[in-house]
């Protein structure tokens, strides 16, 4: 993860923390992604807006290596992701990518803090240190650490997911509707946390959101429309 953190902001895509070129994805006969070009440098943030069903979540799934694109290339840091094996993609994700999902996706059988610690434990980090960091993150997001995940509210779950994405200090953070379930005040604090990351850790941040206020905080803004990505024409 280290080589990415130090990369300075740059507009040449070759040195970016995340770059993809002509990414296509087809499921059966439907084309969901139709030649997406995108690049986010370390220390920078980007937001993608777009109509429901336009392919935003699918793009994130491709970028995090959950699914292989039908065509095109995806690079995370120096690594070409689309040719890696499933295991190597999992490794890359664990070490370099933090993920926040549209509907949190927590493991209910674990407590909040255990959920947050998971990525650290999966990458064989020391348990005590991981616990300390998880505690710090949860405190910052105002979530009781030892509460059972099953009883958490939607907003609390979303913030636990956010803490979980940040625990490994990733070089790239991908977030799908991270503020969807939050009230106005929490949305502000959570967005503050997310968008302070590029500056404080040097990571690249890509946020998919329907919320113009959240999108306007990003350095670059894009719009997704039926599988094609274009720079946003709206000024935020």
């Amino acid at each position: 993860m280290t080589q990415i953190e130090t990369t300075p902001p740059s507009d040449t895509c070759s040195a970016a923390a995340l770059s993809c070129r002509q990414v296509r994805y087809r499921a059966g006969r439907t084309t969901i992604l139709d030649g997406v070009d995108l690049c986010v440098a370390g220390g920078r943030s980007a937001a993608i807006q777009g109509r429901s069903g336009s392919g935003k979540s699918t793009l994130l799934a491709v970028l995090m290596g959950l699914i292989r694109p039908t065509g095109g290339s995806v690079r995370v840091g120096e690594t070409e992701m689309s040719t890696l094996s499933r295991s190597r993609r999992a490794d890359l994700r664990g070490q370099h990518i933090g993920v926040v999902f549209q509907n949190a996706e927590l493991l209910d059988e674990l407590t909040a803090i255990e959920n947050v610690m998971l990525p650290a434990l999966l990458t064989h980090q020391e348990k005590a240190a991981a616990r300390t960091r998880a505690h710090g993150l949860l405190d910052e997001l105002e979530i009781p650490a030892d509460r059972s995940t099953a009883v958490l509210s939607g907003g609390e779950r979303q913030r636990v997911a956010m803490a979980r994405a940040l625990i490994n200090g990733p070089g790239l953070v991908l977030a799908d509707e991270p503020t969807g379930a939050l009230d106005a005040e929490l949305r502000e604090t959570s967005a503050d946390l997310l968008f302070s990351l590029p500056a404080s850790t040097g990571c690249a941040l890509l946020v998919v959101t329907h919320d113009p206020a959240v999108a306007s905080r990003a350095d670059e803004r894009y719009v997704m429309d039926t599988g094609r990505l274009a720079p946003s024409t709206l000024d935020g």
């Binding site: 890359l92 209910d108 099953a150």
Partner: protein, 712 residues
């Protein structure tokens, strides 16, 4: 259903299933040593025969005593040297005029005492092939005549493994038991383990998806599942090992089979047993790992793979059932084993194809219901149909489990029907002669004539006694005939309607004693010992016209006149013994069947539980949002109806071909058909229970459902 509750249920189920898998594999190994052990114990007590009377330490003779539903071995002993070792299981030779019986005959000591001498003790089980064996050792008191049927022996432990004690060989060939164990124990236990491992599939799939997103490699997920399953697996192995260890220390009864597992058989099998335990652990681990392996990722939303259930497999299954059934019927007249092989092979293939058949039926009827619901605008039908069509696996598995249980149990009943049919025929042949006449085997030695005369004199006045000798006559064209000579006093032959005989009487007992169709001649005079090289059989027939013959009384007379007594029997005894054998075998089949179908029922139960919980959860949002909880009920009922119909079609049809075979085998296939009907009904009841559970869970899920995404 919380993940914790599913996890606990799964752990218990995996532990139990693993124990059953290990034990059922152990059973395969134990068959061999058990059979070897039985041969060995039989050999240990088989006298070592000698022709040199000088060196003999004892004399012996053996015979059977039979009655309705029971047959036991009688071994007459005459110790020539009382210091010589007695047979295994006895500490000393019994005194003359006394008998020792195996523990299982304890309830018949009075009757045995009258015939064989006072019962003074029991044979220790170490001297029995089976602890439940029926065996009498009798040392007869000196009688008027010493019999010629003694054999001389120098000790016990003949190496040539003669099954002299005539223990009823419950299932004669070890190979048959292998099939039973494979079919009724190993296969259902493996199915149970796979089902247990599949519990919580939904939760597991979600867990895998999340962990993989967080950076866990697929191999990591496999290790994770292996660790989750390790404790239950080890617990199951420990339980099974405990049972096996107990079995090698003490004799264990196989409840319901009337059979004891001998500890020495366990000990003899120890090396093989433990290597099989090790092998079955590997098999269990493989089953669990295959069931819990990470799913292939197919798109942004990981979802469970639904099997395809191709229609041509369903058609193929129907053809196989038809063809193998017909083929088995064609072979019923010939070799029974061949017919059985066809039935067995067809059954196995049907069993393998059954899940696909059930899946195809479920999916097709789902499509039909969905179409009807869509045309008529019925939401419950639309939803139920769509669920069955797009995700038929849960319902199809449930139906397949029930259908397999129906199939297995009806298989058992088919075998039972065949065995009991044999038994019924034997009984109906033997019954009319109980009390009418008995046959006494007569030695072929002239020196025994005084003994024969004495016996005739000692028998009650009202009894008719004749001697029947059959001889072999060979014709130049190599045809063979067994002409019989009936010898008796003129008055007796007249009373029996045999004087001046010139045509063959077809009524009893002559057709059975002399063999029907053989020429009969009569000879006036007292019953006489028959000798000669062409002599085929020499029997004395005792007839009571009043039908009040007491077999024990006659045996008692024989024992007081000759030592050892000649043996009394009736034609049909042998047949009856064969039928008894069949009954014993069917008891085994029932035992295996009950265990096997209990495991299958557990499979059905677990799958039902899993499927209905999932369906309830999936249906909750629709019902909660629409405010129509009745929707949950109707949807569940429709699903249940489809499953029940699938069981009836698949299970019923697959089982039905058995009843043809039973019909063709000469037994009444009616009971088999009734059994199949009853089982289908029971399966329907079980499925109704599942539906009720789904309704209950569904209502609960509706009450606790909150908008804001599915939670596990």
């Amino acid at each position: 259903m919380t993940p914790a509750r599913i996890g606990l249920t799964q752990a218990v189920a995996i532990a139990a299933a693993t124990a059953l898998v290990v034990l059922s594999f152990a059973a395969l190994v134990l068959i061999d040593t058990t059979y070897d052990g039985r041969y060995q114990r039989s050999a240990d007590r088989t006298p070592i025969v000698t022709v040199d009377h000088e060196i003999a330490s004892f004399r012996f003779a053996h015979s059977f005593s039979a009655g309705p539903g029971r047959k036991f071995s009688v071994v007459y002993l005459d110790p020539l040297d009382r210091a010589a070792p007695p047979p295994p299981g006895l500490t000393q030779w019994p005194q003359p005029g006394t008998a020792v019986v195996s523990p299982s005959l304890a309830d018949r000591v009075d009757e045995i005492g009258v015939v064989y001498g006072e019962v003074v003790g029991t044979v220790d089980t170490s001297g029995l092939v089976q602890p439940t064996e029926d065996l009498v050792y009798a040392v007869p008191a000196p009688a008027m005549f010493d019999g010629s049927n003694w054999e001389h022996a120098v000790g016990f432990g003949a190496a040539n493994r003669v099954n002299m004690a005539g223990e009823i060989w419950i299932v004669e060939y070890a190979e048959r038991v292998y099939y039973l164990v494979l079919f009724f124990l190993v296969a259902p236990a493996m199915a149970l383990l796979a089902t247990a491992a599949h519990l919580g599939d939904e939760e597991r799939r979600r867990r895998h998806a999340i962990l993989e997103t967080l950076g866990a490699r697929p191999g990591r997920l496999v290790r994770l599942e292996a660790r989750r399953a390790a404790l239950p697996l080890l617990t199951g192995v420990a339980v099974a090992s405990g049972v096996l260890t107990a079995g090698s220390l003490v004799d264990l009864p196989l409840l319901g089979a009337g059979y004891w597992l001998r500890s020495e058989d366990f000990r003899a099998a120890a090396p093989a047993l433990w290597s099989v335990v090790a092998g079955s652990i590997v098999a269990a681990i493989c089953v669990v790992l295959v069931a819990t392996r990470p799913a292939r990722v197919r798109g942004a939303r990981p979802r469970g793979r639904e099997p395809r259930y191709p229609g041509w497999v369903a058609a193929l299954a129907a053809v196989i059932v038809l063809l193998t059934g017909r083929e088995a019927i064609n072979r019923v007249g010939g070799s029974l084993d061949e017919a059985a092989l066809w039935v067995f092979g067809g059954s196995m293939l049907s069993l393998i194809l059954l899940p696909t058949v059930c899946g195809w039926l479920t999916r097709t009827s789902g499509a039909l219901i969905g179409e009807l619901g869509s045309r008529g605008g019925h939401p419950a039908m639309l939803v139920a149909g769509a669920q069955l069509r797009s995700a038929p696996r849960g319902s199809a598995r449930l139906a397949a489990g029930c259908a397999m249980a129906v199939f297995l149990v009806s298989q058992i009943f088919a075998m039972l029907t065949l065995s009991y049919a044999e038994n019924a025929v034997a009984e109906s042949t033997a019954k009319p002669h109980d009390g009418s006449y008995v046959v006494i085997g007569v030695p072929r030695e002239r020196s025994m004539q005084p003994a024969l005369d004495q016996i005739v004199a000692d028998l009650a006045e009202n009894l008719h006694v004749v001697h029947v000798a059959t001889r072999v006559r060979e014709f130049p064209n190599s045809e063979i005939e067994f002409p019989a000579t009936i010898t008796g006093s003129v008055a007796m032959l007249e009373e029996l309607g045999l004087s001046g005989l010139n045509e063959v009487p077809t009524e009893w007992p002559w057709d059975e004693v002399a063999g029907s169709g053989n020429p009969l001649v009569t000879s006036a005079g007292p019953p006489t010992i028959a000798v000669g090289d062409d002599l085929s059989s020499s029997q004395m027939v005792v007839i009571d016209p009043a039908g009040q013959l007491d077999r024990s009384q006659i045996q008692h007379v024989l024992n007081t006149v000759v030592r050892p007594g000649w043996s009394v029997s009736i034609p049909g005894d042998a047949w009856r013994a064969g039928a008894l054998n069949a009954v014993h075998q069917s008891r085994w089949i029932v035992w295996f069947g009950v265990i096997g179908s209990s495991m299958l029922m557990a499979v059905v139960f677990l799958r039902t539980w899993q499927a209905s919980s999932l369906a309830a959860r999936r249906g909750a949002p629709l019902a909660a949002v629409s405010g129509r909880t009745g929707l949950t009920v109707r949807r569940a009922v429709m699903r249940g109806a489809v499953v029940a119909a699938t069981v009836a079609v698949a299970g019923g049809l697959a089982s039905y071909h058995l009843s043809w075979v039973v019909d063709a085998g000469g037994a009444d296939g009616g009971p088999v058909r009734q059994t199949i009907a009853v089982l289908c009904l029971l399966a329907t009841v079980a499925i109704s229970g599942a539906t009720a559970h789904e309704v209950y869970e569904g209502r609960r899920a509706v009450r606790s459902w909150r908008p804001g995404g599915e939670r596990s």
